[in-house]
């Protein structure tokens, strides 16, 4: 899968959100909030092809977590990104 063009990660205060780039109206009912780890993963794979396994490897590398748990989280994250319509493929 691949992150869709036209979205950007923004940091507002301590909060990280994904918003559509360049649109005039920002609908706050549709913005996607991310915690620190998912924002980190988004930054790493933005504009690239990736798999849940790649996300898991990044998590293990950065946070030194159990690889199985990382893969479980990555699969759930990839699914939630797909549901939110910010990744394709």
């Amino acid at each position: 899968m691949k992150t869709k063009n036209g979205f950007e990660l923004r940091k507002v205060g301590d909060q990280r959100i994904i918003v559509a780039k360049g649109i005039e109206n920002i609908d706050f009912g549709k913005i996607i909030a991310m915690n620190a780890s998912s924002a980190y993963l988004w930054q790493q794979v933005e504009g690239k092809d990736f798999t849940p396994q790649m996300l898991a490897d990044l998590l293990v590398e950065k946070y030194d977590v159990d690889p199985n748990l990382a893969l479980e989280d990555s699969l759930a994250l990839a699914e939630s990104w797909q549901k939110a319509g910010i990744v394709e493929g």
Binding site: V12, G13, Q15, N25, I26, F28, G29, S38
Partner: protein, 159 residues
């Protein structure tokens, strides 16, 4: 990994977006703008506050990280007085500079009403003149809302 955004952070984000020249659509949270706006049902579209006017509905930061979406009921120089349509007592006071955005459209029950809409202007004119009997009007509104929910609940049970 998706998180719910606390309201003060969400509104802080909205403030930043408005300052950058975007318009923002916000879902209404709270009951203080009844009967015009209903909690979690309706939304508003806000634009940057370039000089708010009397009777505008505005998003204002009345204390650091404390925002209200209320109507301007008095303007005196730089001082702004706000009150929710659904409030019986109590106003908020702030400066013009604390007004973050002005509502341009009300998205009520899925319908989009601009602030210049005749119905909206009529509502504002009538509602503000009925302040003394607001308590009873709001009571009637709440009863009507509950009856509506009861009826729709019964219909769902029957179908």
């Amino acid at each position: 990994m998706k998180e719910l955004i606390p309201n003060e952070i969400l509104l802080g984000c909205a403030k930043q977006m408005l300052a950058e020249g975007h318009t923002v659509t916000l879902r209404v949270a709270g009951y203080s703008m009844r009967p015009l706006l209903e909690h979690r049902r309706d939304s508003v579209v806000l634009a940057a506050a370039e000089g708010c006017k009397l009777h505008d509905v505005v998003l204002a930061e009345i204390e650091p990280d404390h925002y209200v979406l209320h109507r301007v009921v008095a303007l005196q120089g730089e001082n702004v007085t706000l009150m929710g349509d659904g409030n019986l007592y109590g106003c908020e006071h702030c400066l013009r500079g604390d007004v973050v955005g002005v509502v341009t459209n009300f998205l009520r029950r899925g319908n989009d009403y601009g602030c210049d809409n005749r119905l909206v202007r009529c509502y504002v004119a009538v509602w503000l003149r009925m302040r003394t009997i607001r308590r009873w009007l709001l009571l009637g509104y709440r009863i009507q809302l509950k009856m509506g929910k009861l009826i729709s609940g019964k219909k769902e049970n029957l179908s």
